[in-house]
């Protein structure tokens, strides 16, 4: 069959398929229901694939071949796209999948938590015994500004404020903390080095600040401030770290897979941790901005709420989604 006859014979199919892919790529309102899609579209797409194969085998002109290639490619994209119901997926994620992911990767979680809490606790203890040690972690200016922030004589609590509204601080905490979390994850690609660095660096700084403030007698202001949000925030950083370590493990020890395939698999497996960690940091920012900084509740209430939140977070991560867990 010569090319022109071929074109004339099947041109209708091609315009039909083009109409379909156009309709399918339009926003939701113009979208056709699934029944109609299931009927004509796949059959049409497979026919055009056949035409493309024929056109190549018969050495029809390059222009015709690339036209058919374009049509088939567009069809392929719509037929094999994945669509998920978003809201039920989100619900299922937090009720089940996220805590499960944290438990399934408990080894990474343990290492990440060790890398974060190890330096943190070590420095608290070390500075208690040797106060000058704080200056080997933080420079004098940061120490001074930390002291100014948590001076018991202050009216408000918390980090240095560029604006005095809680809402503004909420924005700042999200901007800053989620950024740190994302970098902790991404840094894992470099054979885990980035994640290890961010985890232990943050652990060391937090430990130094906590140790120093307790040591100079600002302990009460500091601990009542961090009591509530520290649960979400520290665990979230550990979660991001664990996700980063997973990436790093894929790079270091791909096993029987190609290195990049191993990394791709690890990245996909780690993504629930990234989603969950982000949610944790948003909650932490909210608590930090609107509760931690408030001065009206008695100190004991703030400690109690902090303890309660730590407990709830741990129960959530350890107990949720236990039913028919794989």
């Amino acid at each position: 069959m010569k090319q022109d006859a071929f074109e004339a014979k099947y041109a209708d199919d091609w315009t039909r398929l083009a109409e379909w892919t156009d309709a399918l790529s339009r926003p939701r309102k113009a979208r056709v229901d699934i029944e109609t899609i299931a009927g004509e579209f796949p059959a049409l797409y497979r026919r055009v694939c056949h035409h493309l194969a024929l056109a190549r085998a018969r050495r029809y002109s390059g222009d015709l071949q690339s036209h058919l290639n374009r049509l088939a490619l567009a069809g392929h994209q719509h037929l094999y796209r994945t669509r998920l119901p978003v809201f039920s997926a989100i619900l299922r994620f937090f009720a089940r999948d996220f805590p499960r992911a944290v438990r399934r990767h408990w080894r990474y979680m343990a290492v990440a938590a060790g890398l974060l809490f190890g330096p943190l606790l070590t420095l608290i203890v070390a500075i208690h015994m040797q106060p000058a040690l704080v200056y080997s972690v933080l420079d004098a200016r940061s120490v001074a500004s930390m002291e100014a922030m948590y001076d018991p004589a202050n009216q408000v609590l918390g980090r240095e404020r560029e604006s005095d509204t809680d809402l503004a601080m909420f924005g700042y905490y999200i901007f800053n903390n989620v950024g740190i979390g994302f970098r902790t994850f991404a840094g894992g690609l470099l054979f885990g080095i980035g994640s290890i660095f961010f985890l232990s660096f943050n652990g060391a700084v937090i430990g130094a600040v906590a140790g120093h403030l307790t040591q100079v007698g600002y302990g009460e202001t500091f601990w009542q401030f961090v009591a509530a949000h520290s649960s979400f925030e520290l665990i979230a950083i550990a979660i991001f770290g664990a996700a980063g370590l997973m990436l790093g493990m894929g790079a270091l020890s791909p096993g029987r897979r190609k290195r990049w395939h191993a990394i791709q698999g690890q990245a996909r497996a780690a993504l629930p941790l990234v989603y969950g960690g982000t949610a944790f940091l948003v909650v932490a920012a909210f608590v930090e901005a609107f509760w931690s900084s408030s001065t009206w509740p008695p100190v004991t209430t703030k400690y109690a709420v902090g303890l309660l939140l730590w407990l709830l977070v741990l129960i959530y991560l350890l107990a949720f989604g236990r039913n028919d867990e794989a």
């Binding site: 069959m1 010569k2 090319q3 022109d4 006859a5 071929f6 004339a8 790529s25 797409y45 497979r46 694939c49 056949h50 493309l52 194969a53 050495r59 029809y60 002109s61 390059g62 222009d63 690339s66 036209h67 290639n69 374009r70 088939a72 490619l73 567009a74 392929h76 994209q77 094999y80 796209r81 994945t82 560029e162 604006s163 509204t165 809402l167 503004a168 601080m169 909420f170 924005g171 700042y172 999200i174 901007f175 989620v178 950024g179 994302f182 970098r183 994850f185 991404a186 840094g187 690609l189 470099l190 980035g194 990436l247 990049w260 990394i263 791709q264 990245a267 996909r268 993504l271 990234v274």
Partner: protein, 227 residues
């Protein structure tokens, strides 16, 4: 030797689809356009913040946060893999298997962007782009995505509507194809260039100018059957 950047994609339908992968230049250009858009938004936000004062600071920071981390992700997921910059240049992100990029792929590739831009000037990304067959930066490799030219709006070349003229000399298939693709390209060529190209076949087909070759092409693609 293959010179173009086309990647073949095996489908369940048993036919190979061809994806034109985009290289450094279009991607850098797209990045630049996006960077300008982001800069414009940040500038506007900064100015409005100055006007509105106090409480808008939170909004400002959240805008900044989304711009920094989710600008690419949201556009790639909801606008068929293309940020405004990419669609201006005519490229978009797809999964390496040709399907549209989703949350998973887009999020991974854009979070790993942090590693690509080490040490602040995309050196890692650049090296990775140059060393991989499909021009993937590290984020693309981790997410298994590629950046391809958007061929959706490409038009078919207009048919060479010239009366067919039969070829009297037997030509190989390859030679026939050359003549047909020449005819398809003539509308894009200047008259002089077309004549110059046509003169190459002079020794084989005496007296064949560009016009004549298009007529042969008409005949080769089977136009005589309709007249």
């Amino acid at each position: 030797m293959q010179l173009d950047t086309t990647q073949n994609l095996a489908t369940p339908e048993g036919v190979e689809l061809r994806l034109p992968v985009a290289g450094l230049a279009p991607r850098a250009l797209a990045w630049l356009v996006d960077a300008l858009i982001k800069a414009a938004v940040i500038f506007t936000a900064t100015v409005t913040r100055g006007v509105m004062g106090g409480t808008s600071f939170a909004l400002y920071l959240i805008v900044l946060f989304f711009l920094l981390w989710f600008y690419n992700v949201l556009f790639e997921v909801f606008r068929h893999g293309a940020t405004p910059g990419k669609s201006a240049v005519g490229i978009r992100v797809v999964n390496a298997n040709g399907t549209p990029v989703g949350w998973t792929g887009s999020l991974i590739r854009n979070l790993i962007r942090n590693v690509d831009l080490i040490p602040g000037v995309y050196l890692f990304g650049f090296a990775s782009l140059m060393l991989t067959e499909k021009f993937q930066r590290l984020g693309d490799l981790a997410a298994s995505t590629i950046v391809v030219y958007d061929t959706k709006n490409v038009e078919r070349k207009s048919a060479f509507g010239i009366a067919p003229e039969p070829l009297r000399i037997p030509l190989t298939l390859e030679e026939q194809q050359t003549i047909v693709s020449f005819a398809e390209r003539t509308p894009e060529l200047t008259g002089d260039r077309a004549a110059e190209l046509a003169s190459i076949v002079e020794p084989v087909l005496p007296g064949a100018d560009a016009q004549k070759l298009c007529a042969y092409a008409s005949w080769l693609t089977g136009r005589e059957q309709r007249t």
